[in-house]
Symmetry: C3
Subunit: 156 residues, 3 copies
């Protein structure tokens, strides 16, 4: 436990990712740690936010077979081959653009996972448990994706 009466620092950066598959977990941990180090805070908050409605930000373990379990979990909750109202281009009238793709399932997956994660920074480092890693989750790829990272805190 420590209290700082710091000069406040606010640092913003973006991480660009070119995803390769329909569904993919991209581990952003080291890039986020680099941004936080660049900001130079001693303690504060790091908020990682997806800028898309068919991606998510999650924190969990980076074990390849587990990521397959997560894929299966989402597929059960909102099957990729089920019909979605959002994909009924005959009926839909809103937010329609050229090359609109059927991705109702991906929006549902994003809704369940959430669009951001807030991590604590203290004692000069990102507070992550032994197995915790931060992922951008691609749910409707492949696409070019952007993640916004905000570092807010104080120096000693």
């Amino acid at each position: 436990m420590e209290t700082l009466v710091p000069a406040a620092i606010c640092h913003h950066g973006r991480i660009r990712v070119s995803t390769e598959r329909a569904m993919q977990f991209i581990d952003l941990t080291s890039r986020i740690e680099a941004l936080a180090a660049e900001a130079g805070i001693h303690a504060g908050l790091v908020n990682i936010q997806s800028l898309h409605t068919t991606t998510a930000i999650v924190v969990n373990e980076h074990e390849p077979l587990l990521l397959e379990d997560f894929d299966a979990l989402l597929g059960r909750a909102a099957p990729r081959d089920a019909p979605y109202r959002h994909d009924d281009m005959e009926t839909r009238t809103v937010n329609l653009g050229p090359g609109e793709r059927p991705n109702g399932h991906a929006h549902c997956h994003a809704l369940l996972l959430g669009s951001s994660a807030s991590l604590n920074f203290a004692e000069g480092r990102l507070q992550l448990g032994r197995w915790q890693r931060v992922f951008l989750v691609e749910l409707d790829g492949p696409r070019l994706r952007d993640v916004s990272v905000l570092v807010l805190g104080g120096v000693r």
Copy 2:
């Protein structure tokens, strides 16, 4: 990427919403942007928090048919007509008030969606992707609901 050594600003406001249906998505984006503008920060964080246990805050696309897909998704995860222990007023002894309504399903939906969303603010504006909108999700309406919005950041 930018680093500020700002005068810190902390601004708190509430948004009151009178919901109209049992399940409803209320787009709060423009009201949140107005609060952030009022705070006058150049960069920082905006945390949007529901003050209820049967509402949620989510970020996704505002397309009416998609919102119906979300409704269906939640109905599959926790059906509205299934039995919930929370609604067994014969057995339950805790937090019982007059006019208690059976809403176990709504608590389950709120648990899956989450009670808050943290958004980044940078370059003078809320960092939202092209299709991202912020919603209060009513899960047991109609009711009068309150959302707390905290803006924390710095000026140039």
Copy 3:
């Protein structure tokens, strides 16, 4: 609504919990309120973050029967007795340690619930609605668990 141009305060603490069952909701609300009071902010943010990949932080009502409903909800989404790739120790090669336990279901539950919650602090108190409580959710206990709490804000 209020604007502060404060001296910034950043306060970090940890809460240690010895959980007692495989699945358990531990109400941390009063301990979080104590940490926020200790920090001495008038307004700001409190971020509560789990440091594990098989626990979660959630905000909902503390009603024992409802907590059983939540348990059942998670069991339907990712059954405890289903096979998980993560638990196939014959195939898996990553992050394997002595005494590795089959807990694919617990990771899935953690993914759905989320690893942190951000709460607003204003008017000298944590902004929590009447029924809102903050829980650490144990999903693969019993174990010793740590929660990181970051308080960031300003004094008057």
